[in-house]
């Protein structure tokens, strides 16, 4: 199965010392042959079933509706074949065969329900349990444990284990503040090792020793430094890897599951929020092959404890230096009085949309501000007070046009001013997957980063892009020009950068000049990677200021979940209202705080970076007196004398449909037609014409992956992660500490 593609084959970069200096030499150890399309037919338990050639037998059995127990097999990971639980009987085969490691053969007759198979499963289960502790009552996996369930279903009903020396004992490993280990329970399925190496890019996890002494670990004392490390908890079929923050908090049967959407990055990962009473107990991924497959990032998974701390639970009005709790009536009248007293008219009324503002409240706030006669709708980002360089007239100018699964079809990717590992961790795993299995070439312009795949570094500033566009200075430009499906991924930080206009100008011209490859009906090779959950919706809604409005000095500022604002950008005499769910920076600046609901507490629409709108659902009620955000804005509109015309969420969604129908066409992405993309780029090129290319380096958009918004900043777990992984305190290995360049060299 091991195949190294010819494109991957590179001259050896020589011996020690040159390793760091030659980023082009690449090490892609996992390869597979592409799937062949022919179908084969075989019989499973007397049922004929047709599967694509190259499928594993276990897939054929599943297609026939036969349930095969398994521990090590996982459809998104490489096949290991070491648990032996999936044994089935194949006609004319002398022994039972492991169906996960056996290719389905045409015409073979498979039996999954014979005495031989039952006996084989029982035997395997007995061996697995021989070294597995009987600590289910104190095990966090209890109730959702594959071993527990399968031993009930397939195991023997009595024990023959009379070993006076007891069971094997393995010391626990410290993988950091997220993953708790209990290695005695490990059955060595190696799912975590395969996930870490293939998907997450943590090549430090492996197996040491042999036979009965085999154990999972890093050999040296190290933490599992990955944005996706929490997924090994889901993958572990037993209780060896469990969630540290969730330890001993709840049992799965006590929890209410709510299917929702994540807001910590702009991917819109599908999640399941598990809650008990009014508390979110944990967050787990939900499979969606078009978005997050079945992985989520650690921030998505573990920042839920931030929902309990620093919450605004009651309206607050500032009296002197102090906030005084107030009733909703008082707070809303205080806002109305403040608006009147500030004397703000027209564009002097400013609204700022922050990271976690949902689409409903964006539409409501936009309508309210418009009704008050202002067009000063700004975004909570650097340069957010002016219209973004890419404009918002054409969707393809600010969306991830190639779609997230489309990334895997690209054969050359140029990253500009972005580190997908921190801005969209799950998307990064797709790039890594493609990099491992195909001859994908990656180039990077911007700050150097440890991306978990090798890349050619083209430069730090827009100057490198102008070299690339002219096709000089790097091998990557040639490779990119020769690629079948080239893809340019532009970071959202570029809109906030002073060279943004120049970069977009160059890109628009480059794409127009190379439209034969970059823009076909089948392929759009220019994608903007947004990193903030509310941003695509804000652009869709048109939450940007007009040129005239941008120059006005605000007297009344409405911060909707805006916590990244520069305090200096708000005039001293302005009246500031903060609406949001956490007492963070925005609330400090406010004269009146209106407590809103967090993403787990409201059923609202979120638009991800592809332009896919998805519906989040309320798992728990908002705490205290806080309310859903659009309702607050609707109530406020009465107080300021311009009532909004919608009284329920359905009427508001009708209004959203008027604003942009895509906002309420849930769960799909609507591709922009090639002609419109072309028109958009032409407009972009014209608008940014004459922009000067500067030498200012493109900085990292996300410095600390674990703390990017109010929820993750309030989270204790995320603070621990920052300590362990970003600052490297209390963890780390002598002599092999965290060094960005070194880590990068390991992948280059």
């Amino acid at each position: 199965m091991l195949r190294i593609l010819p494109t991957v084959t590179r001259p050896s970069s020589g011996l020690l010392g040159k390793v760091v200096a030659s980023p082009s030499s690449s090490r892609r150890t996992i390869s597979s042959t592409p799937a062949r399309q022919a179908d084969i037919t075989l019989t499973v338990d007397g049922k004929e079933v047709t599967v694509p050639q190259g499928s594993a037998l276990i897939q054929a059995c599943e297609a026939a509706g036969a349930v095969i127990p398994r521990f090590c097999y996982h459809d998104r990971l490489a096949i290991a074949g070491n648990c032996r639980m999936c044994l089935v009987e194949v006609e004319r085969s002398p022994k039972p065969v492991a169906s996960c490691a056996m290719p389905a053969m045409p015409g073979s007759k498979v039996f999954t329900n014979t005495p031989l198979v039952h006996e084989a499963r029982e035997g395997v289960m007995e061996f697995l349990l021989a070294n597995h502790p009987l600590d289910c009552p104190i095990c966090d996996q209890g109730g959702e444990c594959d071993l527990q369930d399968q031993s009930m279903r397939y195991g023997a009903d009595r024990t023959r284990f009379h070993e006076i020396t007891g069971k094997r004992a393995v010391e626990n490993k410290d993988l950091g503040p997220l993953v708790k280990t209990s290695m005695n329970r490990c059955i060595q399925c190696t799912r975590c090792v395969r996930f870490a190496n293939e998907v997450a890019g943590v090549e430090e996890l492996g197996t040491t020793g042999r036979g009965n002494d085999l154990q999972i670990g890093m050999y040296v004392a190290k933490t599992m430094d990955s944005e996706l490390s929490g997924n090994v908890v889901d993958l572990c079929p037993v209780g060896a890897l469990t969630s540290k923050p969730y330890a001993f908090h709840a049992r799965p049967w006590e929890l209410k599951n709510t299917e929702s959407v994540d807001v910590h990055d702009a991917l819109g990962s599908n999640i399941r929020v598990d809650s008990r009473g009014v508390q979110v107990m944990r967050v787990q991924p939900r499979t969606n092959d078009d978005v997050n497959e079945e992985w989520i990032s650690d921030k998505t998974r573990y920042s839920y404890d931030g929902l309990r701390f620093q919450r605004l639970t009651t309206p607050l009005v500032k009296r002197g230096d102090r906030f005084v709790p107030a009733s909703w009536e008082d707070a809303l009248s205080a806002v109305a009085t403040g608006l009147a007293a500030s004397g703000a008219t027209g564009d002097e009324i400013q609204a700022v949309a922050g990271h976690l503002a949902d689409t409903e409240s964006l539409v409501a706030l936009r309508d309210l501000v418009h009704r008050l006669g202002s067009d000063n709708l700004t975004l909570d980002q650097n340069a957010g007070t002016s219209s973004p360089v890419h404009g918002i007239d054409v969707r393809s100018n600010y969306l991830f046009n190639s779609t997230i699964p489309g990334v895997e079809r690209a054969d050359a990717i140029l990253l500009i001013g972005t580190n997908p590992r921190h801005e969209a961790a799950v998307l990064n795993s797709r790039i890594r997957k493609s990099w491992l299995h195909t001859g994908l070439e990656v180039g990077l312009i911007g700050a150097r980063a440890d991306t978990t795949y090798g890349y050619e570094y083209l430069g730090a500033s827009a100057r490198a892009l102008s070299d690339f566009v002219q096709g000089k200075g790097s091998k990557f430009a040639e490779k990119f020009a020769a690629a079948e499906r080239p893809l340019i991924i532009v970071g959202s930080a570029l809109t906030e950068h002073q060279d943004g206009a120049a970069v977009y100008n160059m890109l628009a011209k480059y794409v127009l000049a190379n439209k034969a490859k970059l823009l076909t009906p089948d392929w759009t090779g220019l994608s903007i990677l947004q990193r903030i959950a509310s941003r695509p919706a804000a652009y869709d809604v048109g939450f940007v200021p007009s040129k005239k409005a941008a120059s006005a000095k605000p007297k009344f500022v409405y911060l909707l979940n805006a916590d990244e604002v520069d305090p200096k950008s708000i005039p001293q005499d302005a009246f500031v209202v903060y609406q949001g769910h956490h007492g963070d920076l925005g609330a400090q600046l406010a004269d009146v705080c209106l407590p809103g609901a967090a993403y787990t507490e409201k059923s609202t629409t979120w638009v991800n970076t592809e332009g896919r709108s998805q519906l989040g659902r309320a798992a728990v009620p908002p705490p205290g007196a806080s309310r859903e955000d659009w309702k607050i804005i609707r109530a406020l509109s009465e107080y300021v004398g311009v009532p909004l015309p919608y009284d329920n969420v359905l009427a508001l969604r009708d209004r959203m449909w008027e604003v942009s129908p895509t906002l309420v066409r849930y769960d799909i992405t609507e591709p922009t037609s090639t002609d419109i993309v072309l028109a958009g780029l032409a407009q972009l090129a014209e608008k940014t014409n004459g922009a000067k290319v500067g030498d200012q380096p493109l900085k990292r958009a996300v410095e600390n992956f674990y703390q990017t918004d109010v929820i993750s900043r309030a989270s204790v777990t995320m603070a621990q992660c920052t300590r362990a992984f970003v600052k490297g305190e209390g963890y780390g290995f002598a002599g092999l500490g965290k060094q960005g360049d070194k880590a990068e060299a390991a992948f280059a």
């Binding site: 190294i4 390793v19 020396t165 197996t207 040491t208 020793g209 154990q215 050999y219 092999l736």
Partner: protein, 246 residues
């Protein structure tokens, strides 16, 4: 107390079918499969191939296609172990990983899997006594006892206080026709008796190197009771030929 209530002999049908399982007592390895920093073994201790070994390493790497460079990990670890006084320290593993451009963990996996990579320091002379079945039947227990006694009563797995010898038990080395046997450093000493074993160890203590091979005086693994076949003089050219060729 319940015995009286039970019938004297239960009818056979009532008895549950006996399911015997045979187990051997598991012999767990005494080696640790995680690394702990110690003053003598930590990644800060520098290690590098010397010029001669670097040439050999390059030669070894050149045997494999460049993209399969990591195939050279076992020979290179062996080379490192030889240069590092017979044991593979964490620095050796890190150096080899760096040299072959593979993640260090992949090297650790190999080094912990194979028992011939010593991950703890050993004495100047590494004595490995085979105790697998053929050797055991030929008296390897006596040999092992003789070795331990000769080296001052240490136990298998231990090193003498002067750091000259380390004794371990090993599995079959493939010299069963000359059992019992032991390996000292790279040489096989076969057909041992407790006396010849002590003699060999004595010689090593003095810094000599006794002649490897069978210690009973027989030639390699020929029949110890004398030859039973091919005893006549082999015929040469020109014999037993047709007249025209003779």
């Amino acid at each position: 107390m319940f015995a009286a209530r039970l019938p004297k002999r239960l009818p056979l049908r009532v008895l549950p079918r006996a399911r015997p399982i045979t187990t051997t007592c598991s012999r767990r390895s005494d080696a640790l499969f995680v690394h702990r920093d110690t003053p003598y073994n930590n990644p800060k201790i520098p290690f590098e191939f010397d010029a001669e070994n670097l040439t050999r390493a390059k030669e070894i790497i050149s045997r494999y296609p460049p993209q399969y460079k990591k195939a050279a990990v076992i020979p290179l670890l062996d080379l490192g172990q030889r240069q590092n006084k017979g044991w593979t320290s964490i620095s050796v593993m890190n150096y080899v990983a760096n040299l072959l451009e593979m993640p260090p963990m992949r090297v650790y996996e190999v080094a912990t899997f194979y028992t011939m990579f010593n991950r703890e320091p050993i004495g100047d002379n590494f004595v490995q006594v085979c105790t697998t079945t053929p050797c055991m039947l030929q008296g390897s227990t006596d040999i092992l006892n003789a070795v331990c006694e000769q080296l001052g009563g240490i136990k298998p797995g231990q090193t003498t206080k002067d750091g000259k010898f380390t004794v371990v038990e090993v599995e079959c080395q493939g010299a069963c026709s000359n059992a019992p046997m032991m390996v000292v450093n790279d040489d096989f000493y076969e057909d041992l008796t407790p006396e010849s074993t002590k003699k060999i160890l004595n010689a090593f203590t003095k810094g000599e190197k006794p002649k490897p091979g069978p210690q009973s005086g027989r030639q390699t693994s020929e029949n110890s009771a004398g030859l039973t076949s091919l005893t006549t003089k082999p015929y040469g050219p020109g014999e037993f030929c047709s007249p025209e060729f003779s």
